[in-house]
């Protein structure tokens, strides 16, 4: 069990993301709200991303045993998580995420075919950082409007996830250091901060209603 800490942290990330995703899908099935649908996609993606990385570490520990996780698996997991962060930011009505100029669109897409998976991982991490920072700021602004205390916890959670992504991206400067584990721990702290207000939502009388759309 060379990657015990990474295994545990990714598993926690998978479970917390899954729990929030399930809450969101119950909400979507009961109300048909598009916002809850976007949150469902967001948290299932985040959960799946952690699961892919966890599966990669498990395969490395028990099957491959080369001493290093396959970079492609890690990049895939982080890419899937980035999709989740995009949907959180998208729920806050991102209006100018994609550049309108055809030139900038081509510049934005073509480098992905020219760089290695390790560099793609850094691109995903930096995009995730921007999306999460945006989500944290928007959530904090909504707190100032509505004074909903749960929004503070979610804003802190998104900010911690952003900081974790930043440290994860920075860890490529010191590849074998503790920085990656610190980044993972901060990200899990962020997910738990997201889960705290969600866990207080009473679901006892909520049930799936197949007739609602």
């Amino acid at each position: 069990m060379e990657f015990l800490l990474e295994n545990i942290l990714n598993l926690i990330g998978f479970l917390v993301g899954l729990a929030i995703g399930i809450m969101s899908i119950i909400g979507f099935r009961n109300t048909g709200s598009p916002t809850l649908f976007r949150l469902t996609i967001a948290f299932f993606s985040i959960s799946l991303g952690f699961f892919v990385i966890w599966a990669g570490y498990m395969a490395e520990d028990f099957v491959i045993k080369s001493g290093n996780i396959e970079k492609g698996i890690q990049t895939l997991g982080i890419g899937i998580q980035t999709v989740g962060y995009f949907f959180i930011a998208f729920s806050h009505s991102i209006k100018s995420f994609f550049p309108k100029s055809r030139y900038f669109r081509s510049v934005g897409i073509f480098p992905l075919f020219l760089v290695s998976s390790a560099q793609i991982e850094h691109i995903f991490r930096s995009v995730s950082f921007i999306l999460l920072a945006y989500g944290a700021i928007e959530t904090m602004l909504s707190y100032f409007e509505n004074r909903n205390k749960g929004a503070i916890s979610v804003a802190i959670g998104l900010a911690l996830l952003a900081f974790g992504e930043f440290l994860g991206w920075y860890s490529f400067v010191f590849p074998e250091s503790i920085l990656y584990s610190v980044s993972m721990t901060i990200k899990i702290g962020g997910l738990i901060a997201l889960f705290i207000p969600v866990s207080k939502i009473p679901l006892t009388k909520i049930k799936f209603d197949e007739g609602l759309e």
């Binding site: 809450m23 969101s24 909400g27 009961n30 109300t31 048909g32 709200s33 916002t35 809850l36 949150l39 959180i88 729920s91 806050h92 928007e138 959530t139 904090m140 602004l141 909504s142 707190y143 509505n146 909903n148 749960g150 929004a151 916890s153 979610v154 804003a155 207000p197 969600v198 939502i201 009473p202 679901l203 009388k205 909520i206 049930k207 209603d209 007739g211 609602l212 759309e213």
Partner: protein, 95 residues
């Protein structure tokens, strides 16, 4: 400045009006709902038709006029609506 209401919020307001504001078991008239929900007649007519077809409101024929009252499913929906409004508010979002 007037607050922007989502379609979901308007539905929540209509159901809450039929549940909380009425002591009359016969239900609410369209005029009463228009005043309370603050939307046009054509729009509320479409929404009421949908809510009745979904079983969230019951249409009652009372003394020649159509009235609407909340059904059991409607009460359950309203409870879910409030619960998940709170859930979404935690993310700084509205449903």
């Amino acid at each position: 400045m007037a607050e922007y209401r989502t379609h979901m919020k308007i539905i929540g307001d209509i159901l809450a009006t039929t549940r909380d504001d009425l002591r009359d078991e016969d239900g609410a008239t369209v005029t009463y709902l228009i005043r309370k929900a603050n939307i046009s007649h054509s729009r509320i007519s479409r929404i009421l038709k949908t809510l009745v077809s979904q079983g969230l409101l019951e249409q009652v024929d009372s003394q020649g006029s159509n009235k609407y009252r909340i059904s059991t499913s409607g009460r359950e929906f309203l409870q879910a609506y409030y619960t998940f409004t709170n859930f979404a508010n935690n993310f700084g979002l509205s449903i």
